[in-house]
Symmetry: C2
Subunit: 339 residues, 2 copies
Amino acid sequence: MKTHLRLLLALALSAMLSGAAVRKVTADDPLPSWNDGQAKTAIIDLVQRVTNEGSPDFVSRADRIATFDNDGTLWSEHPMYTQLAFAIDRIKSLAPEHPEWNTTQPFKAALDNDLKALAAAGEKGLVELVMASHAGISTAEFEQIVKGWFATAEHPRFKRPYTQCVYQPMLELLTYLRANGFKTYIISGGGVEFMRPITEAAYGIPPEQVVGSTVKTQFEIKDGKPVLMRLPEVDFIDDKSGKPVGINMFIGKRPIAAFGNSAGDREMLEWIGAGARARLMMLVFHDDARREYAYGPARGLPDSKFGVFPEALMDEAKEKGWHVISMKNDWARVFAFEE
Amino acid sequence: MKTHLRLLLALALSAMLSGAAVRKVTADDPLPSWNDGQAKTAIIDLVQRVTNEGSPDFVSRADRIATFDNDGTLWSEHPMYTQLAFAIDRIKSLAPEHPEWNTTQPFKAALDNDLKALAAAGEKGLVELVMASHAGISTAEFEQIVKGWFATAEHPRFKRPYTQCVYQPMLELLTYLRANGFKTYIISGGGVEFMRPITEAAYGIPPEQVVGSTVKTQFEIKDGKPVLMRLPEVDFIDDKSGKPVGINMFIGKRPIAAFGNSAGDREMLEWIGAGARARLMMLVFHDDARREYAYGPARGLPDSKFGVFPEALMDEAKEKGWHVISMKNDWARVFAFEE
């Protein structure tokens, strides 16, 4: 009896941990961290249709392209973008050479961990921080700095390396798509050279399939050796209407699946949605404060500085047949480290 | 006896047609259109070293990246860049809507087929032509125009579609590299959206592996549908020092092999040459007026408006161990249509 009770308790606990919806795990389930529901069904349905040579929706391997936003879609973007955490740490390590930062915004805010003042500095302030902390060095030096940071930095809530704060259901989705001949790309507003050092290990996505925002770089000969120097000048912002531009520039084809989570992904989904072939557009909705975070402002959730999901985006999703993934209901597990 | 004579004549003719050097063709030769010599040996040597897991020069598949210039390296760039021929044709077809072009340079020069006046208009003039002929339409419209042009346009000397004026030895090289796990990229000063519609069929290189110069594009909603409009504004020039910048931006890794043919490829070869691994840098030298064209001004050949190979580049190649491919001596065959 005791054993029986323990079993029941374990089952109940497991059901709680695995979210609200009931979950059927089978040995050959390619998406075990997804609860059964519309979202999971939509993914499997697309893959089956485009890979079935007899189907009118068949798509050749060369054209099976899926694009993923990064922040908030593949990994956590709260309490702040990972790249902002990096920029703040970098500002701190450079501060001894810049005494003027102690009294100048947005640097003072970064040094004081003053998120409110940072937010008040707006996009202009963030760009200033990134330029001061990401430029004036070669691409090779920057890569080493980024790698070094990721090796030691930890997410403030989950107390783990940021590269572990990636969503397990999305890792399964990436693997499932690739196993079915898809090429998976990141299309992120984040800096491309901040992401590339870790995307292969974190997501199985090689550097050449990472599209992001860039600073201008310049070819120079230094001490007789060619280097690419990172200039303090924005080159391309791969966000909002920049996302379809980046997709066209880097891929040159229209993807058939796109995954995002915020207003910054709207134009990407519109662009993929306007394709002629079978296609799938999905948005991750962060409604799970217990396991991760909950923010909107759609559906009455709190507004957010990072990864805004407005009610208008929810309306557009409904109107255009984009699927909204409820983190709380659709994901049986959020992080691999949960268990 | 007559048969014997005919055989001798055929052999002599075949030796003439196949260039100066003696050519050994074996059934398993991956590069049958290359004569035996330093260039062919260097290619096979690199491939054997980087694919041999026991070799200290072994390179994993993910890092076997080879970059190719297009004009003059993969296809003919004389009597003018193919894209310039396209721009001139496009200016002609747009001329009825632009009566002012009859009296304004560089448009008048294009309408009059006046190559000398076009050359006098310089780079600024060429950019004006390209902007007027390549912009103000959507990326989808431009793609259709490019495809339509390639379907009917012919090379003025070879009287064949431009997509057939590709170098047979380089096609074999692309195939050989890919068969050995290399990813092959185009890194060209030409417009990326001019090349992408034909690179898969011409070279087996998909759109996402074509890096080139770009105009700015802008996401717009037209008649309720999202489009990317091509703006009359240069975004990126993928030439000279722009080539390492483009490689870093699009690939994010340093290739281990690079192929070019002119001063525009110098920085690309310097960048690849500065890598730490086994690597190969090669320049095609156009010294074959009979089968293709001969231009320098290196080695006393005539100077050129398109694809300049100065003596200084020859000197740098010698100093840095870059291989110079003599079209006349190293290539047994230039075009597939020769036979």
